[in-house]
Every structure is written in C-alpha cells, then in structure tokens.
C-alpha cells in the first residue's frame, strides 16, 4: 500500500477511535488506535525505507488556505516515534489508567490520547503556516487535558496551568513567526526558502517559540511539574514525543529557512548548558518522575548540540562532520523516545504498586517487581549512554563530530567536555534512581507490599527495552533512516552507506554482549561451585541493620549538589537532636525550581505590580476621564505645534 492510503487509514482509524473512548467500547478503542498507529508507522517506514517523499497539494481549502501535506524523511522519522510510543502507551494505559480504577477520567483519557496522536501526526505532516498553527495549538490543548486527567489534586491543576501558560507563550511567538514569514513571502505555504536572506532574523523567534515546547534550559520551566504530575503513560508521551515536536520545529525550519551564521554556535552553547544543568537538577531530585523529567532537559540538550553542529557545518561547509552531527541528533530523538518512555513506564509501574514517587520511601522492590526492576535497569543503562545499548550509539555519533570539529571549529571541544561531565552525572543519577527504588530493603510499608504489574503494562516495556537493545546491537540498520532524513534536511548530504566505524561499533557491541554473558555465567558457576551462604549485610558491626539506616536519595546526591548550589539553591529544613534523650530529629531537603521561582515568578510579580499601579488610572471618575482626554488633546496639540507644519 502507498503512503497516502496508509496515512488516510491511520487518520480515519484514530479519528474513529476518539468516538469509541467510552468504557463499553474500550476494547474497540484500543484496536482502532493500534491499527491507526500501525498504519501511520507503515506509511512513515515506507517513506524512510523507499526514500520517496509524498506530497499532497491543493484540492481542498481550509480556512481559505489550500491544504498542503508533506511526508518527507524528516517528518517520517518523527511520525515513527509518535506511532510507536502512541501504541505502547495505549496498551499501557489500559491497565494503568483503567476504567475500574479511574471511572471518571479513563474514558476522557482515551479520547484525548487519540486526539493528541492525531494532532501530533498533523503537526509533522502539514506544510502550511496557518494549518501548522492550528494543529500545533490543538496538540498543545490535548496535552493539557491529558496532564490534568486527575484534576482533583491541586498540584496537578497547577502543573497543567503552568504547562498551558508556557505552551501559549510559545504559540504566541510562533504566531508572530509564521505571520512574519507569510508577510515576507506573500503566502502561508511552507517549503525550502533558503535564498531569502531577509528571513534570517526569524531564527530567534523560532528558537524561543519551539524551544519552549522542546524544554531546553532555561525554557524548561513547565516541564518538571507537568511530567511528574501527569499519569505515567502521559508522561511517557509528553517526554518521549511531545517535547520532540519542538525539536521537529527547530530541525524543520532550520533546514528550510536561511540561518544567521551565529545560529549553530547558539544551539551548541544552549545544548551543552542544557545538558549539564539539566542533569545536575535531575541528580538532585528525590521524586523519581521529576528526575526523569529533568533528564529530558539533558537529552534535549544533547540533541540541540547535534542540530547546532549541523548548522555550524553548513556555515563553514564541512559536510563530513555536519551529517554526523545531524544523524546523531536525529537518532537520539528516537533513542531518547524509546528509553525515556521505557523509564516512565517503569516508574509508573512503581507508582501503581506503591502509590509514591518519593525515592526515599521506596527500596528493595526488585524482589516483588523483578520485571519492572529489570526494565528500569535497561532504561537506566540506555539513558546513561552506556555501551552496548542505543543511547551510546547516538552519543557516540555526537562525540565523533565534536572530536572532528574541535580541530577546526575549536571551541566546540568545550561542548564535548561538558557532555562528558553530563554523562558522568547521568550515570550517577541513574545509579541513584535504580538503587533507591529497587535495591536494598523497603523503607516503608507500601514499598514492602508492592506487587508486579500485569501484562498490559509489562508488554510495552518489554517491547521498548527490545528496541533499546536492538538499536544498540545493530546501529547499521537504523543509519540509512537517519541518513535519508539528513539528506532531506540538507540536499547533497547524507550517505546511506553507514560509516565504517559505525559498522565496527555494532560488531564490537555484539562481541561485548557475548563477553558479558560469558563472564557473568562463569562467575555465577564458580560462586555456586564454591558454595554461597546468605547472611545479614555487614554494617560495621551493627547487629541488626534497619531500613532507615540506608543511604538516602538526597545524601547520595549531596556532593554534586554541593558543587552546584549556585544554581540549585537547595533548601533544607533541619531539626537537630537536642538534649540527653533527644525525642525527634529531622532533615528535609528540597530543590526548588530555580528558574521558575527566582526568575519567572519575580518577573510575574513585577508585571502584576506595574499593572496594579496602572489600574489606578481607571477608577470610574468621569470628571477625571474628561481631564485625560483634555490632557491628551493638549499633548497632541503641543506635539504638532513643536514639530511645525511639514
């Protein structure tokens, strides 16, 4: 079947599933959603594998503008992500947000889920400024309703409101962006327009407008609370796919529009900063979903470094590392989508079983939730960019261009150093996350009575973990996909035969896995041969180690948090033990949302006060209003008199 037919099928199935979201039809909803995402996936794959761009122009008009749809390798790459995570989350949500547990909101959640998939599909396929804005706005609103599914809780409403406000600030800028673009070109139609140098200043609008959605530092203000408070399958969709729409916007329009020469440097700098600061914030968190959310800020940073590198390469005409940079960034879009959705699914499984996201209230869950623990472990390895999983492949490509470029475009070497540090903090964050949740002994009663989740939740996790492993072991298979997107982004770039080093890397990964299996099996055999005795943890002579004696999430991060107090502003409530027989002692550590609380909120207060002061002029006194009019007339008169007749 051809892409247009498949896309029409996908759109029809997803649209129909919105109507079947009710509890009686939930089975049909799932079937239609899966069918729709499968059709969309097949269409995107057809474009990516066949390298055939599909375009539909004219015919219908919508809002006075002719419909223009475009599915090229760049949009197909993002469509694949939407379909995979969309389908996985639909299965996951069937158990996680079931009608039995959430009778009020489950059906609503399904309807908005389908609507969100449809709108995101439209965002990546429409090629008309006006229609793009409509799809973008609809997608943002769907996201809002998904975040506030559990709207009884106050923090959920607050998170949803913050998301909506940030999202609309971004949409406002995009309105200006598209309006100026249409004003300059005389049409809302989109497409390559690299030969119009007067469009270059639009880069800044695009950067902030899409950046607010992508959530790189310091535009990430809405991201942590929205990701943490949304239902976990929604968090997976938000983090794995929705923020990638911002990346899509930046990639798409940086390819179509002429860019100022500084654009590459700006993106590399913003990306490197975002990676380092984002992951430091992640490490300091004690709420597992907040940790994952801040980690998204880091990964968007890594993607931005790659996109910036390709822009840099365009400006200095260095195709060799330019295509490595963009291919790495685009592969990281997929990889981050896969492992972050996997991690949010496993975190959701923990939340489902224990009712808490606070890592310091969990512990020892591997015994009751072995599947979830293993899946979180795979996700943790992948997100830390460790070989032989998928995260390493894209990070390796990123480092490769940074190394290549640091001989000529020198300062990008500093970005490599920042990314290396960020990588080490990622390892630290995920050792902390996994160990606080799954290792040791349960710290509270709910953690002690946890239960494994069912197959509807486990199957999507297994599938995503398989993706992480498959891309890690066979990077050569996904290279052509990225290469085609690169050549769609910059005609002339993108060689479909994988770089020889990538082939070798894949082989090394396979050998590494075999060696790992061999050594693990050997060590287990030798241990069993020699005999194994179970005993109490050796805790410096304590007779009975207690769960409370374990290292806590905040203490684990204390050293690194200490280095970054200048941006983290950690707050702690300390009540020290006093007297001979101290009754209670307490220490609560909290990491505030620095940018939000120290920058955005004070700015909001200033704006509110200024508007409050301005409001005094509007008091309802008619006499004074007449005086204003008189004063205005006098002012205009004076102006005319001073200027004199021309």
């Amino acid at each position: 079947m051809t892409p247009p037919l498949l896309l029409a099928l996908a759109a029809a199935a997803i649209t129909a599933s919105v109507g079947l979201a009710g509890p009686r039809w939930s089975r049909w909803w799932l079937l239609l959603t899966l069918a729709g995402t499968a059709a969309g996936f097949a269409a995107a794959l057809g474009v990516l594998v066949g390298n055939a761009t599909w375009e539909l122009r004219g015919g219908l008009t919508l809002g006075g503008e002719p419909v223009h749809l475009l599915l090229d390798p760049v949009s197909a790459l993002f469509l694949v992500l939407i379909c995979v995570i969309g389908a996985g989350g639909a299965c996951y949500g069937r158990e996680y947000w079931s009608d039995a547990h959430y009778p009020a909101s489950a059906a609503r959640g399904r309807a908005w889920w389908s609507a969100m998939l449809l709108c995101m599909g439209l965002v990546v396929t429409v090629s008309n400024g006006l229609h793009f804005l409509i799809a973008w706005e609809a997608f943002a609103v769907c996201g809002y309703f998904l975040i506030v599914l559990e709207r009884r809780r106050r923090e959920v409403r607050a998170a949803g409101w913050l998301y909506l406000a940030a999202s609309h600030a971004g949409t406002l800028l995009l309105f200006v962006f598209f309006a100026l673009l249409a004003g300059h070109t005389g049409s809302w139609d989109l497409g390559p327009m690299r030969d119009a140098p007067r469009l270059t200043p639009l880069f800044w609008l695009m950067l902030v407008g899409f950046g607010l959605k992508a959530g790189f530092f310091p535009l990430h203000i809405w991201l942590p609370s929205a990701h943490a408070n949304a239902p976990s399958h929604v968090s997976a969709l938000m983090s794995g796919v929705a923020i990638k729409m911002g990346v899509y916007g930046i990639v798409r329009f940086s390819g179509w529009l002429p860019m100022p020469p500084v654009a590459g440097w700006v993106l590399v700098t913003v990306g490197a900063l975002s990676a380092l600061i984002g992951i430091v914030f992640a490490f300091a968190q004690t709420d597992v979903k907040r940790l994952l959310a801040y980690c998204s800020v880091e990964n968007i940073g890594i993607i931005m470094v790659g996109v910036g590198g390709s822009l840099l390469a365009v400006s200095v005409d260095e195709p060799v590392w330019g295509q490595l940079a963009l291919a790495g960034a685009l592969l990281h879009v997929w990889n981050h989508g896969a492992f972050k959705a996997l991690l949010f699914f496993s975190a959701g499984s923990v939340l489902h079983a224990t009712g808490t996201r606070e890592m310091s209230r969990l512990g020892g869950l591997w015994r009751s939730m072995p599947w979830t623990a293993a899946m979180f472990g795979v996700g943790a390895l992948a997100v830390s960019g460790l070989p032989p999983l998928n995260g390493f492949v894209s990070e390796w490509l990123t480092y490769l261009w940074l190394f290549d470029a640091s001989s000529s475009a020198r300062s990008v070497g500093l970005a490599a150093i920042a990314l290396a540090s960020a990588g080490a903090v990622t390892v630290a964050s995920f050792v902390k996350g996994s160990s606080m949740i799954f290792l040791g002994t349960p710290r509270t009663t709910p953690a002690a009575h946890a239960h494994e989740s069912g197959w509807w939740m486990r199957a999507p996790m297994l599938a995503l973990a398989a993706c992480c492993i498959a891309i890690g072991l066979g990077p050569v298979v996904v290279w052509p996909v990225a290469a085609r997107a690169v050549s769609a982004w910059h005609p002339g770039w993108g060689t479909t035969s994988a770089p020889p080093a990538l082939v070798t890397l894949g082989q090394v990964h396979v050998v590494l896995v075999m060696l790992l299996v061999l050594s693990i099996v050997t060590l287990f055999r030798q241990t069993r041969l020699n005999g194994l005795r179970r005993s109490v943890t050796w805790d410096c002579g304590f007779a009975e180690p207690r769960a409370r004696m374990q290292y806590s999430a905040a203490s684990f991060a204390a050293i690194v948090s200490g280095w970054f107090t200048w941006i983290l502003w950690p707050q702690s409530v300390v009540r020290r033990p006093r007297g001979v027989m101290p009754s209670e002692a307490l220490r609560v550590d909290h990491i505030p949302e620095t940018v939000l609380e120290r920058l955005v909120q004070p700015a909001g207060v200033v704006v509110t006060e200024l508007s409050g002061a301005a409001r005094r002029f509007q008091h309802g006194g008619l006499q004074l209003y007449v005086l204003y009019v008189l004063a205005g007339l006098v002012a205009i008169g004076t102006l005319v008199w001073v200027e004199g007749p021309r």
């Binding site: 020892g364 591997w366 015994r367 623990a373 472990g377 943790a380 390895l381 830390s384 460790l386 070989p387 390493f392 990070e395 390796w396 490769l400 190394f403 640091s406 001989s407 020198r410 070497g413 150093i417 290396a420 540090s421 990588g423 080490a424 390892v427 630290a428 995920f430 050792v431 902390k432 996994s434 160990s435 290792l439 002994t441 020889p500 890397l505 090394v508 590494l512 060696l515 790992l516 050594s519 693990i520 060590l523 030798q526 241990t527 020699n530 005999g531 005795r533 179970r534 005993s535 109490v536 943890t537 050796w538 410096c540 180690p545 004696m549 374990q550 290292y551 203490s555 684990f556 690194v560």
Partner: protein, 304 residues
C-alpha cells in the same frame, strides 16, 4: 594469523600483568617506610585463594550483586583491549574508539556502584556516591586530555592518537592524567586503599560486602584499571609509536614502571585529602588538561 597472535599477546598482557602493579606499589611503600613488606606477587596468591573461596552474601542482595563485578571487569577488560600496547594491537583500532573507551569505563562504574547499592548498607552507599560524584570531574579531565591528543594528531582513533609526541603540552597532560589516574584507581590522596575505617573510604567501601570469586574479580579489575591508566598515561606523553617497535615496547614498560613508582611514592609521602578538598584537586586536573588542549589549539598539529 598475526592478528590472532596479536590478540593472544594483548590478552595475556592485560590478564597476567595487572596484579603485579599493586605488589610493586606496596613494595615501594614498604621500602619508603623502612619495612620489608609483603611479597611482590601477593595479589596473585590472594586472587588464586579468593577464586576458590565460598561466598557470603547479604540477604537483601539480588543476583545483580554477583553480576555487577562480572560486568565491571568485562567492561574494563574490553576498554583495555582498545588500547594498543606499543606496536601490538594498532591494527584493530577504529574511528571513535576513544569514546568507547571512556564509556566502557563508565559502564564499569555503573556496574560497581549498582552492586554496591545492592546490600542497602549506608557505608556502601557513601562509597558509591563518592565514586560516581568524583567521576564527574575525572571524566571531564579525561575527555579534555583525549581531545588534546585528537587535536594534535587530527585523528579520533587511539592507535594514531597515542603514538606521536603530544607537543609542548605534554607536561600539562602528564600532570593532569596522573591526577586522574590516582582518582580513578582510588589511590592516595583521593582514597586510602589501606584504611580500615569505612567512613573514609571510596572504592573499598563499595566492595565491603563482596567475598570469594566476585571479590577476586573486583580486585583483578581494579589492578587492570591501574595498568590501563598507566599505559594510557605513558602512551599519551611519550612518543611510543615514533621509535622502533622493541624500543617502543621497552619505553612503554619503563613508563608503566615509573608511573607505578610514582603512585607508590605519592602514597608514602602524602596523606589522604579531606573530602572537601578532593574536588579542588580534581578540578586542577581538569584545568591542566584544558590548558593542554589550549596549547594544542595554539600549537597546530604534529602529524605522525
């Protein structure tokens, strides 16, 4: 045929030689303190004995408690196999293997820290937290050092990067890499491998609960990492590839021995740093390597 021979030779080098280094360091320390000290081959005896011993394992630990050391050891060995030993093993190098080397070491760190956290012991938590935190700066220093070599040689594969003389920044690079070596292999002044006070340990605190074959694997892995860093340091600052093969190999061995001696002397002459001063020293290492990078940028490239 020569490739197989090459592989076997390097495997033998990386598997058999490492336990010698801690023995040498201990001998240096003993001589400096006027003692006789344990036999140079002590670690070999220890490993052989531990491999046959039974295991006592914490009740709360999962199977990953034993898998962790195996993963860490394999990752360090794989990283070592990427590094050419003099003229041996230069043929198997590929573009970007230097990044793989750094991330294999990160994999080893992940696995060790994970296994440490298995027991739920506060001491092992402390050790793991310190290990992963100090690595943040060590990783930055290593990346800067590797970038320096890459800029000098216009190459991203270890065999080319490590062979020529790294130019005028060699001294800065040597100082930076030696500091990283001390931190990554948990030696004085970052960590005291001989201490018996859990509160002050880093690496040793992480492996408190391990015994038997897993402990043997951990000890061998630590020694292997020491050898790996010594070879890396030597090949980074000396022109091993620029002279004839046997001379290069001899120079490499001399370099490794000197490094080992240096570690022993540092350990004899210095005390462990207070924990809050450790990051400062590591930051110095980062700066040294970044300065070496600046020198490399200024000096242009020397092609081998």
């Amino acid at each position: 045929m020569s490739e197989v021979l090459d592989l076997v030779a390097r495997l033998a080098f990386w598997l058999l030689l490492p336990p010698l280094l801690p023995g040498l360091i201990n001998r240096v320390k003993a001589l400096a303190a006027g003692r006789r000290g344990p036999p140079v081959l002590q670690l070999y005896y220890d490993l052989a004995r531990l491999w046959k011993k039974s295991v006592v394992q914490s009740r709360v630990a999962s199977p990953a408690f034993i898998a962790g050391p195996a993963v860490a050891w394999t990752a360090i060995l794989a990283a070592a196999m990427l590094v050419p030993v003099g003229f041996v093993g230069t043929g198997l190098s590929f573009r970007g293997d230097v990044v793989l080397l750094l991330y294999l070491l990160a994999l080893a760190r992940f696995a060790t820290a994970w296994a440490a956290m298995e027991t739920g012991s506060a001491f092992e938590g402390m050790g793991a937290a310190r290990e992963v935190s100090f690595a943040v700066l060590a990783e930055a220093a290593l990346m800067a050092a590797m970038l320096t070599l890459s800029v000098q040689t216009r190459s991203v594969s270890l065999s080319t990067m490590l062979s020529p003389f790294p130019g005028p920044g060699a001294l800065l690079l040597a100082a930076g890499l030696f500091t990283v070596l001390l931190a990554e292999t948990s030696r004085v002044p970052f960590d005291d491998p001989n201490t018996h006070l859990e509160l002050t340990m880093v690496h040793e605190a992480m492996v408190l609960d391990h015994s038997g074959p897993p402990l043997a694997v951990i000890l061998h892995g630590a020694a292997l990492k020491l050898l790996l860093f010594s070879v890396l340091l030597t090949e980074s600052v000396l022109p091993i590839g620029a002279i004839n093969p046997s001379g290069g190999l001899a120079l490499l061995l001399v370099g490794v021995l000197t490094t080992t001696l240096g570690v022993g002397l540092v350990e004899s002459l210095m005390a462990r740093f207070a924990f809050r001063r450790v990051p400062l020293l590591l930051l110095t290492a980062v700066l040294l390597c970044v300065f070496a990078l600046l020198v490399a940028w200024q000096g242009g490239s020397v092609t081998a």
